[in-house]
Symmetry: C2
């Protein structure tokens, strides 16, 4: 590397971002330096400002810039439904589909015996508290279909049993999916959950 | 998107970087927010500092933080050889190989009739000037093996003809390359430039 220390350090930091390796980090930094006023300075300012203001919503765990997030504050969201997700990224994915009009609860991970992650770490007690205080009628478990996700879903269903309706996302063939490329587990789930046309 | 304005804007800016799309920009921003003190704040500070200090070397066009870059200032680099590259990224690639010990000249692009890029835009006059003032004995053309790259190489060779030795990178089979996957042009070039074992 012939560039000076700060530029090298910037490339190294950028290479740590998910989706960027050393090569693409170098390309990104070169582009940033070329488009300094248009890209680099605004990006640096935004990062500084987000780093200073971003925080977890104390109600649902979503990331925002206020102590309670926009979704929890909104009057337009149904109060009776809570959609439980693993992560803020999953919450954003649900929001992009635009179909869910209730509120969320972000666990911040899944139960994992190996990593010693128990219910206390995961905001599960807070979920239980919200089910009471917000008069929730349905908890929708939108956890990833992994072993840890399923374990966590079972645990939460156990905890909330009898206090409200508990549902989970349907499993089956994804839209546009071709049977030939699907794994056996998905085909089995789709067959078991088949419905009348 | 449920996150607030700054976070959305940050995701949008990040998605404009080469190598990142909307999805990976979201993942990157989430990771940055999680590792705020370790990643986001240092990254923002570095960007601000690089945006303020980065500049082109007025001699060779390399990017650095001083008016003349480290390579041009170094006493350890041979003065008689100049390696001509299209772009700072190419200069960095040459430096990583560590094999070239001379100095560089960054053109900042290639000649292109379609995009109306002529020799004046490309620091070619400056190269010609350096060949005189630095008593250069060899100019190595390390331009990309594209049509525009080859045109530019020919133009420079014409300009400097008779004033110093002019060479270009060898063309042939890349190290680790399999013949079966190489294009016809490369195989032809490698065959034409074959040498005694």
């Amino acid at each position: 590397m012939s560039s000076t220390r700060d530029i090298d350090a910037l490339i190294e930091m950028m290479a740590k971002l998910p989706g960027l390796g050393p090569r693409s980090a170098r390309r990104a930094v070169l582009q940033l330096i070329r488009k300094r006023a248009l890209q680099m300075e605004p990006l640096a300012d935004l990062m500084t400002s987000v780093a200073a203001t971003a925080c977890e919503c104390r109600n649902c765990g979503n990331i925002g810039t206020q102590p309670v997030c926009d979704i929890c504050l909104s009057n337009e969201r149904a109060t009776g439904q809570i959609c439980v997700v693993e992560d803020v990224g999953d919450l954003w994915a649900m929001e992009r589909s635009g179909v869910f009009k209730g509120r969320y609860h972000v666990l911040g991970g899944t139960l994992s015996a190996l990593d010693a992650i128990g219910p206390e770490t995961l905001r599960i007690p807070k979920l239980s508290e919200r089910v009471e205080s917000e008069e929730v009628t349905e908890v929708i478990l939108a956890l990833n279909a992994t072993v840890d996700g399923l374990t966590t879903a079972h645990y939460i269903a156990d905890q909330l049993d009898g206090r409200c309706r508990i549902t989970s996302l349907a499993q089956g063939v994804p839209i546009g999916g071709e049977l030939d490329y699907l794994d056996d587990g998905t085909i089995t789930a789709a067959l078991n959950a088949r419905r009348e046309v």
